[in-house]
Assembly symmetry: C2
């Protein structure tokens, strides 16, 4: 599993930073978080085809998070038979997309499936090829969702000496046990994988949360994430503005990530006011709270690390 | 009067060419033709503020001509009190813009004035600070308008010897006569400007026409234009495709421009399939029909030449 930061800025597309959007690739499939105006340019710059894009998960109905969706839909339609696409997001995302389809008559050659947040009592999960996508409301100036991807548990550590002791010969039966299957030994005995494997290990966790103030939903989405994309829109110099506008400082994002035991934090949705040089200030403010943090790079690729054995 | 090619491509924004959009600047005011996705990036790259943008004139309701409008509206709203903005275009342009305003809740701090084409019997003109903007339906796969800007006539050539002969002393009265005003000589005689000026000269003409096959409306819009932006989407190698899709080859655009006595032709809406090298082929195909032609450069600035005295 790998994440690519298509855009890293906030508010509006800039030559230095397109608006924040993250593409997740896993086993040949793709899922995208947010799509602001011009984000298809990043796909083209990165030579990234999206025939295998299964879903766009949208945080909220502000222009810098949705205006690129029609362009993404059209770009995907240049592939033959790309299969259905799901659009997940806040109430109103379907209306926005359908209006563009009606008003500017663009052609798409696949079905759209909309999954809108309805209420706190409605399940907020969607399955992406075995990976669980879940979402939580955040605390922004308008209704906004944060997301979390959780891979299924991986089989535990394989202990070959246990398998041998149970009469399993070295060879293909070992692989089957390692994959979590039961096998029959040459002397007719059934060996279950749990007899030769350690406890299952949790799968990898990726979080995506922008735009928001610190809030319980954010902490929930970030807990134990191996890789978390979180807004760090402002420097400490603009802390009051951040609070007022429903955003965070880079330092606040780092503080929340530290408390949630995030493994590695990538700051996104950087304000257009900041230069490349300013980014170093944001990074150092964040690092004072949490060492494993960096500012997202446009088209930066971020492999998701495996959880350590102890987790 | 000067025109800036914000984007020069067709179909979708590409790193090499944003979608076709032309910004016209005259006496500190601005008017924009078309606005596809990401066109605000060109404004920022060119360091072009749009507080004084009075109108966006839209050719048709395809994504590559309108998806950038919400971004332009928001970018303009970052100025204090920028004054009203007119959006001129085909039926449905108001519905598209109003839907985006309703669906993604962006803020604008000025009034919008919509001027939609209604019928062949409705006047198709709009006044832009003394300049006449007019439009004509073209021949595309969907209803599409081309545009023409005509400056008011300029005063004719000033003949100082005539003024002196009529008793006007050299000085400020000369300037008033040159500007078309009447003056009173020191001996009490009234001299009218037409006594000392040659016949009025026509103002400059700029045409903008994409996407279209050759058609009478196109010829009408281009006649005697001092500067014409016309689609030259395809090479002769793709002539059939051009015809089928409601487009033109570069050579066809040049042929129409020559017949319409265009002074200088800028080809826009270049297909994304063509590289920079391919552009030389398109240019040479066009030049075989009409010598004064070039392929638009991204952020290229094109001053509008004054009509020659004979026109």
């Amino acid at each position: 599993m790998e994440c690519i930061a298509l855009g890293t800025g906030g508010m509006m597309p800039m030559p230095l930073r397109l608006t924040t959007s993250v593409l997740v690739r896993r086993q040949g499939r793709m899922l995208m978080f947010d799509a602001g105006e011009g984000i298809q340019l990043a796909l083209k710059q990165g030579n990234l085809g999206i025939r295998r894009l299964d879903a766009i998960a949208v945080s909220h109905l502000h222009a810098d998070h949705v205006l690129g969706i029609p362009g993404i839909l059209m770009f995907r339609a240049q592939n033959q038979d790309p299969g259905p696409l799901s659009i997940i997001g806040p109430p109103g995302i379907e209306r926005f997309v359908r209006h563009t389809l009606d008003d500017i008559q663009y052609y798409i050659n696949y079905a759209l499936n909309f999954v809108e947040w309805k209420s706190h009592d409605t399940p907020c999960t969607w399955e992406w090829h075995g990976v669980k996508l879940s979402w939580e409301p955040l605390d922004h100036s308008t209704f906004c969702l944060g997301y979390r991807l959780e891979e299924p548990p991986r089989p535990g550590t394989f202990y070959p000496e246990r398998a041998r002791a149970l009469g399993v010969p070295v060879g293909p039966l070992f692989s089957q046990l390692q994959a979590g299957q039961s096998v029959t030994t040459p002397d007719g005995r059934t060996v279950h994988s749990n007899e030769v494997l350690g406890p299952p290990k949790r799968g990898r966790i990726v979080s995506y949360a922008t735009d928001t103030r610190p809030c319980p939903g954010l902490a929930q989405l970030l807990r134990n994430a191996d890789l978390a994309f979180v807004e760090g829109m402002f420097s400490l110099f603009h802390k009051e503005e951040a609070e007022k506008k429903g955003h965070m400082t880079a330092a606040q994002a780092a503080t929340v990530a530290a408390a949630a035991s995030v493994k590695h934090l990538i700051l996104v949705h950087i304000s257009p006011r900041y230069t490349r040089q300013d980014e170093a200030v944001l990074a150092s403010e964040a690092r004072a709270q949490f060492p494993s943090v960096e500012i997202a790079r446009s088209l930066g690729s971020y492999p998701v690390p495996l959880p350590s054995e102890s987790q």
